[in-house]
Amino acid sequence: MPELFEDVIVRTIARLMTPFIQLFALYVLMHGHATPGGGFQAGVMMAASFILIAIALGLQEAKDRVKQKARLPLESFGPLNFVVIGIICMACGGYYLQYTTVPLLPSLQAVGAILISAVEVGIGVTVMAMVTTIFFSMAGGKHDTS
């Protein structure tokens, strides 16, 4: 990354905007079953908020907000979550990923909505961690030849 962009307006606006972007990403994630959106969109939006911090406030500030130790388990959480939920559905007598067979609640539709939301959360977490990691890896400057 080039040197830090020292402009008080850009830095202040980026600092102010970030929580609202993250709040909207969480809204898109949790309302994916009722309104447009879902795991992929929410994950990319959440990653975009960290990319905004890295561009406006410096790479180190963004790395402090999402630490590598925290990202490491999140990266593989999504596929694992998906497989575990699918196998739970098989164990309850349905097909792979047939969510409505899990006897969690009496209403099958509520079970479907809850498990679909759980899968979406896993997708969103993985996409967020992976896009952030790809950005940090590329912007890290370890292989900078210039």
Binding site: V44, I51, F135
Partner: protein, 81 residues
């Protein structure tokens, strides 16, 4: 009257697509490509596909542009024939 907006957006889409291909300044091409993605997102929303529009606006105009700019900053800014 919505067809007027559609035609204007489609003409802008073709113009930005040609500008991306023709431009020799790669940074300008990357920024023009993000404008292309934004127009595409508006067209998807216009076609009653808000999910795809949201994805296109977040991924196309946000993430890939940043990755392109990082790649340009690590190589050269001008295209050589």
């Amino acid at each position: 009257m919505i067809w007027l907006l559609n035609i204007a957006l489609l003409m802008l889409l073709v113009a930005t697509a040609i500008a991306v291909v023709v431009n020799k300044d790669l940074l300008a091409a990357a920024i023009t490509f993000s404008i292309y993605s934004f127009i595409m997102a508006m067209l998807y929303t216009q076609l009653n596909a808000p999910d795809v529009g949201l994805t296109e606006a977040a991924v196309g105009a946000g993430a890939t542009t940043v990755l392109f700019i990082i790649a340009i900053s690590k190589t050269s800014r001008r295209e050589e024939d």
